[in-house]
Subunit: 228 residues, 2 copies
């Protein structure tokens, strides 16, 4: 089986006791938006969040907080609010960006239509200790990426989204989230359903410069996947 | 050997052909600021950047750019500028936060004193397509975390810092970085020197809430490291 095919299959549930090489995980972890009805086991969720919390943050302040929405009373209300926001968000994006019917559009439509059934939704929050600024994400998004990688290691798939911001005020009121806390990301988690295509990324020479802005790095030429 | 000790030793150079389990990598990758004089091999650097670029970003736009500073003429000037900024940054922080002499302070002093000798410094940039905002980091800091994890897998250590912002204007002019591009992070890379202590992180029940803000998640209780 060639590597691309392996990557495409790499998102199906694996036994978490089977080691997954970190480079393989980085290479193949993609956004997953189609989930089965299977739950996220609490032992797995605990491990996923523990590994998320190992991420670095400015001065190791660890200002990230994980507000987990499962099937409690407030979680159900929050998911319902967010479901509406996600459907509005996708409708707007589809119209604005001109998506044609196809695999991606169908996957997004299914994602937002079934939002309320997603087993676990995590609001990743930043407990701010200074004014909002564009660099503050350095203390919260590394933890989000750790979370997605750990989920992958445990056989789950996830997606990081921003459509929760469409109902930010309502979520703050419902879930009692203080004003100084940023709702930095919404991550959905579940057991992947079906096959998912490989990651699509720019070639390395489009994103790497050497010595100064815009200068090509001739040493990046080579196979698209250097782990081959 | 108990797990903490394993983690403490986990940062020494490993043969990158030896698989490193992704959960172990997430659990043990810490900031490394003491490097030997050994170079970062270009094949490794290419792989590290390739894996960094596999990170997710909003609408998969991949706005992250890696400006690699090695030993070219502009890189040397940029490192010199940044060295001054890092020494000022640490001096200010040490005085302001009241660090006492000790292992951490000594490590930081050595880091800034020897900044110009660090083999590879990467300015991770965000090629903005909209106004700066606190959520934009979702499209650049996951790639930074991938970079640090991939570096670890290849036997290197790194640290994500912000002190480059002390000479942001000078760096823009020297390296020809356009105004619409954010200098989101400065990552230093090298071969770790000596031993490094384990990660220090809050217990999980301080950073996880269930169903609503501030509500304890009773299912997170258990051993500090759920992979044990």
């Amino acid at each position: 089986m060639d590597r691309l095919r392996t990557q495409a299959l790499g998102c199906i549930r694996v036994n978490s006791s089977t080691p997954l090489d970190v480079l393989d995980a980085l290479a193949t972890t993609r956004s997953i938006r189609r989930y089965t009805d299977a739950p996220v086991e609490l032992d797995d969720l605990r491990s996923i969040l523990w590994h998320a919390g190992r991420a670095p943050s400015g001065s190791n302040r660890q200002p990230f907080r994980f507000l987990v929405l499962r099937d409690g009373p407030d979680a159900r209300r929050a998911k319902s609010l967010m479901g509406e926001a996600f459907r509005r968000g996708w409708n707007t994006k589809r119209a604005h960006d001109g998506y044609r019917p196809g695999r991606f559009a169908a996957s997004m439509q299914r994602y937002v239509d079934r939002f309320e059934t997603i087993p676990v939704v995590i609001l990743v929050c930043l407990d701010r200790y200074r004014e909002p600024n564009p660099m503050e994400g350095a203390s919260v998004y590394p933890a989000c990426q750790n979370l997605l990688l750990a989920a992958r290691a445990h056989g789950y798939g996830g997606a990081l989204t921003m459509w929760h911001l469409g109902v930010e005020d309502e979520l703050r009121e419902l879930l009692d989230i203080p004003d100084h806390v940023a709702l930095s990301a919404c991550i959905t988690l579940g057991v992947p359903e079906g096959n998912h295509g490989p990651l699509r990324r720019r070639p390395l020479n489009e994103i790497v410069y050497d010595d100064r802005w815009g200068a090509p790095a001739d040493w990046v030429d080579g196979p698209a996947d250097p782990s081959q």
